[in-house]
């Protein structure tokens, strides 16, 4: 009996010590405050809408997490979303089978990932520059192709991937769950995942241990492009159209979700769970501010403050 209790206590203290617990607590506090100020926040309809929005940000953030864990950064995920959406919508509008069109959009988005990964890993250009350039290239390509106009005529058959639900839960949330579970397994159970953390901790030592560091880093940018492309296509289904500016600024939401979730921009530390909670905080906050009728200018400034605050708190906690 006594033993059991002690064990229970140690499990509790173990949970409290996890960095994810602190941010989860922060999430609950934010939610409680919003619920008090805007009582319809926790209504079923609102939760349904918010969870769908959060799911999309979280998927992009998980892809970004892989890159950040090695100390890299991908600024092009927002533009990749836009590009994959436009590519698949364009194909659908010209009558291509929707499934093939989606695959086409994914491939186009991942081409940008291959470009990023190749330049970062094999040509040794800093990721900040490479992905900033890739962002502009992707945005430019979108504008050349669409001339700034949205692409409509999206087949009804694909709309369920954004607008449908299964067991009363939005399909995008299910997609997020699948992505998160796979990412968690890859990061914690596989050799690939172990090596990602090792590269973030000490790239030189990892290389000299006989790890093909270049190949791993290359694939991380492809993974980030994959999740971004996926969300880009879900956005098309959500709005019944591909907007030329879709995904603008999403790279910042993705990076912020990871950082709020305790991911170190220097690499080597971070988790899928943290990323999910980070995305929840951003999503809940954005939604709450709307419900509280705070002006959209203030919303941006407040979310920015939260990001900085999260980084400062994490720094203090580590001391």
């Amino acid at each position: 009996m006594g033993k059991k209790q002690a064990r229970g206590r140690s499990v509790v203290s173990e949970i409290v010590k996890q960095r994810e617990s602190a941010i989860f607590l922060a999430l609950l506090i934010v939610m409680a405050i919003i619920e008090i100020m805007a009582p319809n926040f926790l209504s079923g309809d609102n939760i349904y809408l918010v969870s769908r929005q959060i799911a999309l940000v979280a998927i992009v953030a998980i892809g970004e997490l892989f890159v950040i864990l090695t100390g890299g950064i991908d600024l092009s995920v927002g533009a990749i979303m836009g590009l994959s959406g436009v590519a698949s919508a364009g194909a659908m509008a010209s009558g291509v089978n929707p499934v093939l069109a989606i695959l086409f959009g994914m491939v186009i988005g991942m081409v940008i990932g291959v470009f990023n990964g190749w330049l970062v890993s094999y040509v040794f250009i800093p990721p900040f520059i490479v992905t900033l350039g890739a962002q502009e290239i992707a945005r430019g390509t979108i504008l050349i192709y669409t001339k700034g106009w949205p692409i409509t005529n999206i087949p009804k058959s694909i709309l369920f991937i954004a607008q449908g639900d299964f067991l009363s839960i939005p399909v995008p949330v299910w997609i997020m769950v699948v992505v998160a579970v796979i990412a968690e397994i890859v990061l914690t159970k596989t050799s690939f995942g172990r090596r990602i953390y090792a590269i973030g901790g000490n790239e030189t030592a990892t290389f000299l241990s006989g790890v093909n560091v270049k190949k791993i880093k290359f694939f991380l940018y492809v993974i980030a492009a994959f999740t971004a492309s996926l969300v880009g296509i879900i956005l098309v289904a959500r709005f019944n159209s591909a907007q030329a500016d879709a995904g603008t600024g999403w790279e910042m939401n993705a990076i912020a979700s990871a950082v709020i979730g305790g991911t170190s921009l220097a690499g080597g530390a971070g988790s899928v769970l943290g990323c999910l909670i980070g995305a929840c905080i951003i999503g809940v906050l954005a939604n709450g501010l709307v419900l509280m009728r705070v002006s959209s200018y203030w919303q941006t400034a407040i979310i920015g403050t939260v990001i900085v605050l999260a980084a400062v708190l994490d720094h203090i906690r580590k001391k």
């Binding site: 397994i185 000490n202 290389f207 000299l208 093909n212």
Partner: protein
């Protein structure tokens, strides 16, 4: 410059859970060189950090020049005339020597925000002349040798009118020749009445340069020796608290005639030029030479960490092409790098993570999932066989002592079951006891048939372990000596053979 006496009395300091120093005394008179020795974790660094204002003491007194002092920052200590040069040199590698010399103490032209470069250059020239060293002032510090960077640190201290200079393992990355030069400088400082506290793991050096040796063990004074009246054995006994009959294990097995590994005409400019040698099964081949002789670069060429321009690598008589460390590991070639923290370990990860880093191929299934049970078994096996001291295998590796960290690195490579093991400075920065254990492990490995290449800047280590010794100098193999012909004299004369100002070593 007035000369001051340092008296530290009854120094006690504890950290959460550990008593780091207990009632420690240390006295240093003007112009005295005092060796501070002890195994890793004996409290040497803590004592020096208290003196220089990095840590606060719990109890005890520090008197400097008759006055009781308590420095809050290293800056205050420097102003009072006490400077410390850390093992990991504290400079800005991207700046030039002059910028580093005057960093934070720049001189300005009268009543202006502009730097007075001329005066700074003159002062720098003056101090280097006094030290009798020439330093290239027009290049970034990172491009200078460690020895030269160290001279800049010494010059920096002199510019601040140092009375007491603390040197923490100053020779750990110097060649024997550079060490001799450094000792010349220390003697010069001494003659000026400047005191030096010299922290080192190298016994012969301590006996060479110090007047007195203070020994710490487990945070307490365990004795003091007047250097000229004492023997190395006495010192070792005090440090470890037990007698070590011999520092080097006698090798039993003889290496076989079977050549396991061979390099032919290996070149990688500008460091390695036409290097050839062979290693037999069960042989320890020493690779001796000065720092910069191209020994580490040769190893890096062999494992494909850098690209070779010419030459052949043969494994069991068959030529193999190795383009990366990954391929080296696949061929059964293991390389233990010289810098443990920078090149070997992921400090944030656990002992287990680090130990199994190079054997994921063995541990993973078709999906790349790591078999945890097997991983734990292998980790425990090596923790036991190498007698690694830790609380458990999930400990973060940076919490282990240097010697135990190094054993984990050795275990990491043993786990790959190598045919050829290249060890680059395997005992650098670890204490005497751990060192003798590592020596024993190396000898046992060779006896079990592994071919070993041992790179070391410590002649005693090379001589104590090697079956044959390759001596390199300026990227070339100068000579290959059999065990019976290898002596300090033959190795050093070969190591200096080509250089114009070759000095015969006396060490």
């Amino acid at each position: 410059m007035e000369n001051k006496t340092l008296v530290m009395k009854g120094i006690t300091k504890s950290f959460p859970g550990v008593l780091a120093l207990h009632d420690v005394d240390l006295e240093v008179k003007p112009g005295e060189v005092v060796g501070l020795m002890g195994e890793n974790g004996s409290g040497k660094s803590t004592l020096m950090k208290i003196l220089t204002g990095v840590y606060r003491l719990d109890s005890g007194t520090v008197t400097w020049g008759g006055k009781q002092v308590s420095f809050a920052t290293t800056r205050q200590a420097q102003v009072a005339g006490i400077s410390i040069i850390f093992q990991e040199l504290n400079n800005c590698p991207n700046l030039k020597p002059l910028d580093n010399l005057f960093l934070g103490r720049e001189l300005y032209r009268k009543n202006s925000p502009f730097l007075d470069l001329k005066t700074m250059q003159e002062k720098a020239a003056e101090v280097f002349k006094y030290l009798d060293v020439s330093v290239n002032m027009d290049t970034e510090v990172k491009k200078l040798s460690t020895a030269q960077q160290q001279m800049i640190e010494i010059a920096k201290a002199l510019l601040m009118n140092v009375n007491l200079l603390i040197m923490d393992e100053p020779t750990s990355s110097l060649s024997d020749r550079e060490t001799t030069k450094l000792f010349g400088v220390i003697r010069e400082l001494k003659s000026r009445g400047i005191s030096v506290i010299f922290i080192s793991h190298k016994l012969d050096e301590a006996f060479d340069i110090t007047d007195r040796i203070v020994v710490l063990r487990d945070g307490e004074n365990v004795g003091e020796l007047v250097t000229k009246d004492s023997s190395q054995d006495q010192l070792i006994m005090k440090m470890v608290g037990r007698e070590i009959s011999t520092l080097y294990t006698k090798r039993t097995a003889k290496p076989s005639d079977e050549v396991v590994f061979e390099v032919k005409n290996l070149s990688g400019p500008p460091y390695v030029d036409d290097v050839s040698f062979a290693v037999h099964k069960g042989e320890i081949l020493g690779l001796a030479g000065l720092i910069g002789a191209g020994r580490t670069e040769t190893a890096r060429l062999i494992i494909g960490a850098v690209k070779k321009t010419k030459g052949e690598v043969l494994l069991n008589g068959k030529p193999v092409e190795i383009r990366s460390p990954e391929e080296a590991v696949a061929h059964g070639i293991a390389y233990l790098p010289e810098d443990r923290k920078v090149q070997s370990l992921v400090l944030k990860m656990t002992v287990r993570d680090n130990l199994t880093m190079s054997i994921h191929k063995v541990l993973t299934n078709w999906f790349g999932i790591i078999n945890r049970t097997q991983e734990r078994e292998i980790t425990d096996k090596y923790i036991k066989s190498l007698d690694i001291k830790l609380t458990n295998r999930e400990q973060i590796i940076s919490n282990l002592s240097g010697g135990n960290q190094q054993k984990v690195v050795i275990a990491k490579w043993l786990a790959t079951v190598p045919k050829l093991l290249i060890l680059d400075e395997p005992t650098r920065g670890i204490d005497v006891h751990a060192k003798s254990e590592v020596h024993r492990i190396i000898a046992e490995l060779a006896d079990s048939g592994v071919a070993i290449v041992l790179i070391s800047s410590e002649l005693a280590e090379i001589l104590g372990l090697s079956d044959r010794v390759v001596v390199m100098q300026e990227g070339k193999v100068r000579t290959i000596l059999d065990r019976k012909d290898a002596t300090q004299e033959t190795i050093m004369s070969a190591a200096f053979s080509g250089s114009a100002n070759g000095v015969k070593e006396t060490a």
